[in-house]
Structures are given as structure tokens and as C-alpha cells.
Symmetry: C2
């Protein structure tokens, strides 16, 4: 029974989350019961939604419990099995949490999925071919419903969701414009991802300035917007939406710490007959097979080559996570666990 490093939520943030909210704990993996498997995690996924779960407020998921392992998506390998569903050596994705190992009831529906790593790298199943990819797919295809020739915009453009969004949007014939923080990310978005243009929001002191940049990058206005950040970026994009535009609201990372960020001019929703819709991809499991099929093909054929930021070792997870909330990551943020 291997020693299992874990990170627990020790206390809840008052305002901005800090490293002190987390606690590194050493435990032992328990012996397996019938039907269980032991998974050694290779990668842990860090995602913005985890910040919301650190608060003890009504939300779409129960809050992260105090003094328990932080929840999170993991990929890894079955190293011990008392289930006939999984064999030692199987590569799997699950919700193993912020720890090195997890014990999983193999029969629980959706708890663990076997992966084919012959054409798709293991870590991609936490990004482009996992929850972030399906998130982009759902928002684009089920809420925005793009038409060829329309203009699509996504914030946090070089992240796991943004990069998948761009590949999906371009393949449907849409002009695709990103918003990201800093010249390196913007260059990467255009040179290595498939964005037609990318705007560095850090160059803009306010929504009016960002709105002018959007006008230049989107000469025909904006028909679809995939919202990851909120605040000033949302205000600026709203000011450029075309009549009958659609906004898929996936995240509002800018408001996760502290006071809510307002939307300055909601009357634009009426003025331009917009549809603004929030969604949580885990509530739409029915689309995952179709979405993963398309996303897997994009990755396997090299049409979607998302970048990864990889922190080394479980101990680094809190710092990497706090960096993610500030946009310090570049591409999908992972923690390599072995």
C-alpha cells in the first residue's frame, strides 16, 4: 500500500484564495475491496471552476468539503485491480482529486473511463479531449450555433477551452478572434493556434479602449461570444455584439475572488436581441461522445495542438492553481504527479 500525498482544503478564502487555504497531507492508500481498483495518477487537471467550489456558497455543485482531498480530474494507470472491468496497466481518466493515488469503485457509472493513448497523448484527456474541450464544443455548437461567415470571439483564448473553441469555430468557417493576456499569448494564438486575430486585454485600461480594439479585429461585429472571464472584457464584447448575437457563459473568472463584477449595460441584451446563456458541461453528458469524437480527431490529426503548462509534483499544485486564476498559465494547466 503506497504512501499517498494529498492536498486538502484546510480553510476557505476570505477574498482572494491563497496557498494557506491548502494543506499537504500524507496518508496511506487503503487495501482494495472487491470491485475496486487502485489508480496511480500521472496528471492532475487544474481548472478555474475549482475556485468557486472553495467558497461555501450555493452553487451548481456542492462546496468542496473542508479537510478533505480537493476534487479534480486526473489521468493515470491502473496499478492494482479487483474488478474485471479494468486490468493493471489500463490508462484511465477519472475524478481522482489532488492526490497521487485514488481507489475507485470500478462499477460506479462514469467513475473511470479507459483511454486509448495510441494516437492521443494521455494528458490531452484532461484538456482538448476532456472536460475543457467538451465545454468549448457545447458552448459553440449548442448555445452559439455558429453559421459560416460569422465572427466568433473567445476570452482566455489560449487556455484549454479557448484553443479547442478556436479549432472548432474555424472548422465551421467562422472568423475567430481571441482575447488573452500579454503579447506572448496573443502571438501564440495567431501563429500556432488558428485564431485570425488575438487582442491583448492588458493593453487596454478600460472597456471603451478594448471595445475599439474589438471593432478593428471584428469589422463585421461579433455574432458569438464564449465567455470565460467577465468584468471589463464582457462589457467590451457586449458593446460589439451584432443583432441576434449569442453569448455562452462558461466562466467569470475575474469575479471569483471577492465582490461580484457588474455588467455595465445589460440594456444591450434588449437593444441587440441577444441570447445570454450559462451552462455547465457536466449537465449535458449526452453530448460527450459526439464531442469527444470530433475533438479526438482534431488532436490525432494535428489540427488542434494545445499547449500545456505542467507543474511538477503534487506540492506545486496550490501555487500552480493560484497562478491559473491570475492567468499565469500558458495553455492547459496540469500537475505532473509521477
Amino acid at each position: 500500500m503506497p504512501t499517498n500525498l494529498q492536498i486538502h482544503l484546510d480553510n476557505r478564502p476570505a477574498g482572494e484564495a491563497t496557498a494557506d487555504n491548502f494543506k499537504l497531507v500524507t496518508s496511506q492508500t487503503p487495501a482494495l475491496a472487491d470491485g475496486q481498483v487502485l489508480v496511480r495518477h500521472h496528471y492532475l487537471s487544474l481548472d478555474p471552476y475549482m475556485r468557486g467550489r472553495m467558497n461555501d456558497t450555493k452553487s451548481y455543485t456542492a462546496p468542496q468539503a473542508l479537510h478533505e482531498v480537493m476534487g479534480g480530474g486526473t489521468v493515470g494507470e491502473v496499478i492494482e485491480s479487483r474488478s474485471d472491468k479494468f486490468a493493471v496497466g489500463d490508462k484511465v481518466v477519472g475524478m481522482g482529486g489532488w492526490q497521487q493515488y485514488s481507489v475507485v469503485d470500478a462499477a460506479a457509472p462514469g467513475a473511470l473511463t479507459k483511454l486509448d493513448t495510441s494516437r492521443i497523448p494521455l494528458s490531452a484527456y484532461l484538456g482538448a479531449v476532456g472536460m475543457p474541450g467538451v465545454t468549448a464544443w457545447y458552448g459553440l455548437l449548442k448555445i452559439i450555433e455558429p453559421k459560416a461567415g460569422e465572427t466568433m470571439v473567445v476570452s482566455a483564448a489560449t487556455g484549454a477551452v479557448g484553443s479547442a473553441f478556436a479549432a472548432l469555430s474555424k472548422s465551421r468557417g467562422c472568423r475567430t478572434v481571441g482575447i488573452a493576456g500579454g503579447p506572448d499569448k496573443c502571438r501564440y494564438a495567431v501563429d500556432e493556434l488558428v485564431f485570425d486575430a488575438c487582442i491583448d486585454y492588458k493593453l487596454h485600461p478600460n472597456a471603451a479602449s478594448l471595445s475599439r480594439a474589438l471593432k478593428e479585429a471584428c469589422p463585421n461585429g461579433i455574432d458569438g461570444y464564449f465567455e470565460n472571464v467577465g468584468g471589463m472584457v464582457l462589457d467590451a464584447v457586449l458593446s460589439r455584439m451584432n443583432a441576434f448575437g449569442r453569448i455562452a457563459v462558461c466562466g467569470m473568472i475575474a469575479g471569483y475572488d471577492g465582490a461580484p463584477l457588474p455588467m455595465s449595460n445589460p440594456a444591450l441584451i434588449l437593444l441587440n436581441r441577444l441570447k445570454v446563456q450559462g451552462f455547465i458541461v457536466s449537465e449535458h453528458m449526452e453530448v460527450w461522445p459526439e464531442a469527444l469524437q470530433e475533438l479526438g480527431t482534431l488532436v490525432a490529426t494535428g489540427k488542434l495542438r494545445p499547449r500545456e503548462s505542467i507543474a511538477q509534483g503534487l506540492e506545486t499544485a496550490p501555487e500552480a492553481f493560484l497562478g491559473l486564476l491570475k492567468g499565469k498559465n500558458f495553455g492547459k494547466q496540469l500537475v505532473k504527479l509521477c
Copy 2:
């Protein structure tokens, strides 16, 4: 050729609209050309959307032109005809504007519609069985899509749209709660319209206070909201929306003068996976026949008996209109022209 009193837009408001923005003008009705009819207006409809058109800003309709007759819906009687489509004596509804008479090309599609006043009073075609009624119908049935047992809320509850909304919502088995200004309107909403409860927003100094009142009136939360006002009321309702709630945005009257009113916490759209959608009923002419059929039956059978505020004479239209923007009207605001 009768003398025709008109009200023109003389200049645009800087902030709040005032009576000085309007000008009373005396003109003559021109002689009819072939295919034209002369309509004598009985009633002029005053509606909040007219305030938006007084500004010279990009919107869903062209701004009201300066030094021309203010646009607006009218019902009246054909008093002279050079068209075989209409006979003298026909009762009609059209967009005659703020004036006593209009000359209409009878062949222009949708310009003039003949009315049956045997079961439905003429003025109702500007309210419950006209644009406001269809507005309520579209927002409820095409955007909110109510299910029996759900809770629906509408602001400006005793107005032309709100009263139609209540009749339609109740007939679909929904708990229906209004928000209105003052004890008289709230009593009327419950005693004479079909609201289950009505909240007087004037009793509440802020959104938190109004939110508490909504919690009491809507013990199961809010599934659908028909938005007519914006500002504090929108913030309060948002805080009580259930997961997968729908908000039809029809008006934001509170923000028509001056600076836009923000939405305090747009992250609730994500948190509760809401759909917030703006619409303009004139862009959905395909639903009008079905909607008017249902609304006409509700009125003819006494199930919808909306109240009217009737100002006397064209000269009173500006003051009545400014009062409407402040909620001084009680029910559908009309101006009686003859």
C-alpha cells in the same frame, strides 16, 4: 380636408425627457391619391419604447426623426377611401402616429388592419389584443416556455404587457407574481387581475430588501421572469432565479433616461445556468395571428380585463407619456383623440 393637430419631436432629450422635447403643430390633411384612405384616430397608444426612439443612438429601430410626427400605434375609423380594400366606417388599427388623422396607402402590407369590434372594444387593439399583448405572449411562450407549476414573475405588472402576461401565465397553471409601484396597483393586481401576489417595489430601498420580499412571494424560487424595467428590480429577481430559469428581456424602462443601469451580479447567469434573451415583438410577425387569437378570446370572455389610463386630447399626449415613463399610469396608457 380637416385640420390635423400633430405632435412633432422638436429636439432630443439630454437625460430625462421633458415636455419641451415636443411641439404641437397644426396642419391640413392632404387630398387622397388613388389607393389611399383617410383615417380619423380614436385612440393613440403611448408605449415605453417611444422613449428609446427619441435618442439618436443605434437601436433596433431608426431614431424618431426630428420635426416629424411622433410615431405610434392608433385605432380609428376610415372616413374617406379611394381604396377597394377599406370602406368608410371600417374600424382599423395602424401606426398613425401622434396626430388626429392619417393618410394611409391601403395596399402597403400591414399598414392598416380591419378590426371586429363586436366582441372586443376598439381600444383593446392597442393593448391586450395588440402589440403589448403579443409582446407578453411571445416572451412567455417563445422565450420563457412555462411549465405548469412553475413560478412566473413580471415587472410593470399592471401595465398592458403585465396584465396580459398574468392572464396567459395563469392559464398555463403557473404561480404568477407581479412587481408594481404603489399599494393601489398591487391591490388591483391581486383583486382584479389574476396575480397570486404582487410586490410594491417602492417599499424597498434596495435589491436585497426586494429580494427578501420575492423570497416570500415565491417560496419555490422563480423559473421565468418577464423584464420590463431593469435596474434594482432585475438584480433582485436574478438573486431568486432557479437553476435553468429563463428571463425574457422586453424593456429596461428604468435606464431609458441617462446612464445605463448595471446588472450587479451577472455571474448568477452562469451559477444558475440561466437563459437571458432580449426580443422585439415586431420581428416575430409570424406569431401574431396565433397570439391575437388567444388574447382576443381572453378579452371577449372577460378573462382578461385590462385597465386603461385615458388622457383626453392630443395636446395631453406629451404629459401622459412622461408620466408613463415614471409609472404614473395605471394600466394601458391611451390618448383619446375624438
